[in-house]
Subunit: 307 residues, 2 copies
């Protein structure tokens, strides 16, 4: 880790709740509920919102209405609205809906890639090479997720060098951003530092984002470790959407509210209104059927009370 | 923050669940349940366990049986068992039960001290001066809590210099350890670093411990910040006892399991068996009437599964 002087003055928060969060919720929300949620998050000042995925509706029913959602969101001003696309067919759908930024999803673990995207890593890179080229040709920015960047639920600890190879390949095919995912929320700060320090020997730190899950409570400590390495793009999910505080092994994303609370407390600017994000989460909560795991959402700000 | 090379190789975990945790639970547990809980925590290798408080039974019924509890725990080998004592009467009770280490509790905020211990800070220091002298004369170690070291629920942000004055006074009256408490779980890492760096201009870092609440999810990030300043004694509560994941504003202590998971993942030794602590928490949970907030306790270890 570097001295605190090296902490970034600003962090770009990538809101993944409407996609990565809702995709992992049991409830399938009405289109209007999602539209309102994304609109509220946009109004809160979030600079990037991953709003949907152009995947097979039979496999991921939570995202089946992404086409219509993006059409309706066309008028939303402010954030970049991104969509996950697994292949060229998904990209074509996204482009037809006016999407201007896409994301592809691979892994640093072969076992996870095979089970999660039904391709080995090499094949996913071939597919994404075409997707990224076409996206760029259409004027779209392209982000890549490297899931299981530290731990894989099937093969355990993932070696640094594997992540370096996958990340370098993603850079080579032209990805504009590489998000390192702690998919099962198992990483601890020294593992985060070790991987990022190794990656930044080959890649500019500005290419990297981090995507932590708070499964074991370490997400914010991992963010702190990543910040001290110079990473300044951090994913989070409003309310901690995608996890349930009582589900065994619930692997919710880091909650946007918890992230913003820490960053703002550290004097790091995000341009996001924390209270407005919390209000968006609270408005969504009744549709989920369970409480949201964000700690800040439950506690609220530390205001001085009348004793 | 200092470079990662400066992280302590070992951390002493002070288990506060049986006192600070149970004192803040609505349920009053049977003596036998508490005895078994402390015995299990001791067997897990925790080096220090705050097992009870010699306070007024009418004010704190959860601790009313501390005398009998400590008598029964007399045979427990391994950890130092500590007790909170508010004054000389409490100390006398503790000594009669064979207690060999005590803790006193004051604050860095006058408003909090007046409401919580019914004394202003100066008066608490007078009282504790006698308590610590007598404790030392009896061969007891004496720790002091400085609650509201960063934020006060009544007066808001607490100035660094106030904490420095209180901590220096506690050192002057002979306290062997000073635990800085983020009582309402509002601190963020730079505030932690700033206070500890300021304190260690006047006090040896080995005198300091940190006591974080995970109210807004920042506890482990704050621990990381404290470790990088050289602090090597960290308080935690088994299962996150003392907080409920669904209670509005629940201000549970940092969970021992979450702390151990992070420390062990960072290669920092504690001498504590994480799985044994989790088993102690699970065995206690049915008596509480609500789930425990520790994230690790819900998720378990990241074992590779058969896909």
């Amino acid at each position: 880790m570097t001295p605190q002087g090296a902490l970034p003055a600003q962090v770009r928060v990538v809101e993944v709740g409407p996609r990565d969060g809702l995709q992992n919720e049991p409830a399938i929300l009405p289109l209007m509920t999602k539209q309102l949620f994304v609109t509220r998050l946009a109004a809160a000042g979030l600079p990037v919102i991953e709003a949907g995925a152009f995947v097979r509706p039979d496999r991921v029913p939570q995202m089946a209405d992404s086409d219509e959602l993006f059409r309706r969101l066309g008028g939303v001003r402010g954030p970049v609205l991104t969509a996950l696309v697994p292949n060229r067919r998904g990209l074509d759908r996204a482009l037809r809906c006016g999407v201007r930024a896409v994301a592809v999803f691979t892994a640093a673990s072969e076992a996870f890639a095979l089970r999660n995207i039904n391709m080995d890593i090499a094949r996913s890179l071939e597919v994404f090479s075409q997707v990224v080229s076409e996206a760029h040709a259409a004027g779209c920015r392209a982000r890549a997720y490297v899931s299981t960047a530290w731990w894989c639920p099937y093969s355990g600890r993932v070696p640094c060098e594997t992540v370096v190879r996958v990340a370098a390949s993603l850079r080579d095919i032209g990805c504009d951003e590489i998000a390192l995912g702690d998919t099962i929320g198992a990483a601890t700060p020294m593992e985060v530092t070790a991987l990022i320090e190794r990656l930044t020997r080959d890649l500019p730190v500005g290419l990297l984002a981090v995507h932590f899950h708070d499964t074991r409570g370490t997400a914010l400590a991992n963010v702190l470790a990543a910040l001290t390495c110079g990473v300044a793009t951090v994913d989070a999910s409003a309310g901690g959407l995608g996890g349930c505080p009582f589900a065994p092994g619930a692997s919710g994303n880091l909650a946007t509210e918890d992230l913003l609370y820490m960053l703002h407390g550290m004097g790091i600017e995000t341009g996001v209104d924390l209270d407005a994000v919390a209000a968006a989460s609270r408005a969504l909560a009744p549709a989920l059927g369970h409480p949201m795991p964000s700690r800040y959402l439950q506690a609220g700000p530390p205001r001085a009370v009348q004793g």
